[in-house]
Amino acid sequence: MKTFRLMLAALALCAIAAPSIAQELYGTLKKVRDTKTFTIGHREASFPFAYYDDQKKPTGFAVELCTRIGEAVKEELKMPDIAIRYLPINAQTRIPLLTNGTIDIECGSTTNNLTRQQQVDFTYSFYVTGGRLLASKVSGIKEVENLNGKAVGVAPGTSNERVLNTLIEQLKLKLRLVSVRDHAEGMLALETGRIDAYVHDEVGQFALLAKSTQRQRFEVVGRLLSFDPYGLMIRRDDSAFKLVANRTLAKIYRSGEVNEMFKRHFDPFGIPLTPEVEWIFKLNSMPD
C-alpha cells in the first residue's frame, strides 16, 4: 500500500513537472501554444512564391514552405488542434505585423540582407535570384552597358534600385530612371513604351512575362546584377522557433522533395532552375 501511494505521489509530481518543461517555451513557440494559432503572413501577388489560386486561397512555393513549418510547430508542441491562419500582408505592413505578433512568419519574396537583420531574422534562404533586365527584343538592349541614354524602370526601395544606382555610378551611365509603384506597373510602363528596360529580380521578370499578353515582344537579358537570397521572415532572438523552421526546410531540401515543389510552382511560369538555385538546394540540405 505504501509503495502504491509513493508511486501515486511520483506520478502526481510528474504531472506537475511536465507543464513546467513546457513553460520554458519562449517567443513564437510559446505564443502559438498560448493562442493555439499559427499565423502565416503572405504576399498576394509575389508569383510564384505567394499568391492566390483560383479559389482565392493563398498558394505558392513560399506559402507551401510556411504551411509545412506550421505543421512542424504543431508536432513540436504536440498540439494537433493548433489552427494555421493566413493573413495577407504587403511591403508596408509586414514589419509592424511581424514585430507586434500578428503574424508569426512572413512568406513572399523578401530579400534577406544584413541591414534588415537589424530589425528581423530570417530562416534559411529558400531561393536565390538577382536583378536582370527585361527589355523589348527590338531595343537592342543585351546588357546593362547598353542602357546609356535609355529610360529604365525600377521599383523604389527594392534591392534592384540599390544595385542599379551603384552600376550607374560605376559604369558612368547616363540614363533616365523611372520609378514605378509595383511590378505590374513596371510591365505596363514597358508595354506602353514608357521605358526601354525594367530592372527586377530574374524570377519576377519570368513571372511578369508569363502573365503578359505581349510576352513575345520582350525577353529577359543580361547577367545577374545582384545576389538576392529570399528568406522567410521571423522575429529576432527566437532561436527555438528558428530551429523548428530550419529543420523543416532542411528536411524538404535534403529529401529532394523540393524538386517536386519547384516543378509544381515554377513550371507554370516557365521559370528555369538556375545554377544559383541549385546551390541553394544543396546548401539547405543540412544533415539532421
Binding site: I95, P96, T99, Q119, P156, T192
Partner: protein, 241 residues
C-alpha cells in the same frame, strides 16, 4: 512592440536624410505648381457657373461634376497611363519620352484640374453670397455685367472665400501623396523607400508625419495673416446686409 528595434538615427544618416529632403522639395513644388492651375482655372470655371449664359454654365457645371466625382487616384492613373495611349502616337510618344519629367507634369495637371473643380465651387458660392441687391444696384446705376463682376462681385466674393481656399490649399499638399502611385518620390514615397531599405518603418513614417504637419502649420501661419488682411469688417459677423 517588444520585438521592434527602434533606431531614430536612421533619419539623420545618409542617404536617407537626403531622400526625405528631396521628398519635401517634390511635395512643395508639386503642391505650389498645381495650386496655380487650380486657382486660375477654378476661378474661371466658378465665375462661369454664375454667368447668365446657359451653355457656359452647363459646361462649367459638367467640368466640376466630372472632376469632383472621379477618385483622384483613378484620375492620376488615367492621366499618366491612359491619356498617352489615346492621343496620336507622336504626341503619346512625346508625353511619355520627350517631356523632361512626364510623371511630374502628369501629376501637376491631374492635381491642378481636380482641385480646380473644388476651387470653382468655392468661387461660385463666394460670388453667390454677395447679396443680389448689390449687383442689382450696380446694374441699375449703369454698370455693364463685366463691370459688375470686376468691381462688385469678384472683389467681395473672393474676400469671403479666403478661409475655405486655405483649406483647399492644405488639401492639395496632402493630395500630392497620391502622386507616388505614378512614381514621384515625394515625402510619402521617400518614407516608404526608407522603410524598404532599412525596415525602420515607424521612424520613416513618423518623419513623414512631422514633415506634413510642419508644412501645413507654416502654410496655416501665412494664410492666417492673409485672412486677417482680407477680412471684410463686419461682413461675416453680421451675416447679412
Amino acid at each position: 512592440m517588444a520585438a521592434y528595434n527602434w533606431n531614430w538615427a536612421v533619419l539623420v544618416s545618409e542617404p536617407y536624410l537626403s531622400w526625405l529632403l528631396k521628398g519635401v522639395v517634390a511635395t512643395v513644388t508639386l503642391a505650389l505648381s498645381s495650386w496655380v492651375i487650380a486657382l486660375v482655372l477654378g476661378s474661371l470655371i466658378g465665375l462661369a457657373r454664375t454667368l447668365p449664359n446657359a451653355p457656359l454654365r452647363w459646361l462649367a457645371t459638367s467640368y466640376v461634376e466630372l472632376f469632383r466625382n472621379i477618385p483622384l487616384l483613378v484620375q492620376m492613373f488615367l492621366w499618366f497611363f491612359v491619356l498617352p495611349e489615346l492621343v496620336p502616337p507622336d504626341i503619346g510618344h512625346w508625353l511619355k519620352r520627350d517631356l523632361p519629367y512626364p510623371e511630374f507634369y502628369s501629376a501637376m495637371v491631374c492635381l491642378g484640374l481636380y482641385t480646380a473643380a473644388r476651387v470653382a465651387e468655392q468661387v461660385r458660392s463666394g460670388i453667390n453670397s454677395v447679396p443680389p441687391l448689390l449687383s442689382a444696384a450696380a446694374r441699375a446705376s449703369g454698370m455693364s455685367l463685366a463691370q459688375t463682376y470686376r468691381h462688385i462681385l469678384l472683389p467681395l466674393g473672393f474676400r469671403i472665400i479666403v478661409p475655405p481656399l486655405t483649406s483647399e490649399f492644405l488639401g492639395i499638399v496632402k493630395n500630392t501623396s497620391l502622386a507616388l502611385t505614378i512614381g514621384i518620390m515625394e515625402i510619402t514615397a521617400s518614407s516608404r523607400q526608407i522603410e524598404s531599405y532599412t525596415f525602420q518603418g515607424y521612424e520613416a513614417f513618423a518623419a513623414a508625419t512631422a514633415l506634413y504637419l510642419s508644412i501645413a502649420l507654416s502654410l496655416l501661419f501665412l494664410t492666417r495673416r492673409l485672412e486677417a488682411r482680407t477680412r471684410i469688417p463686419g461682413w461675416i459677423a453680421r451675416g447679412s446686409m
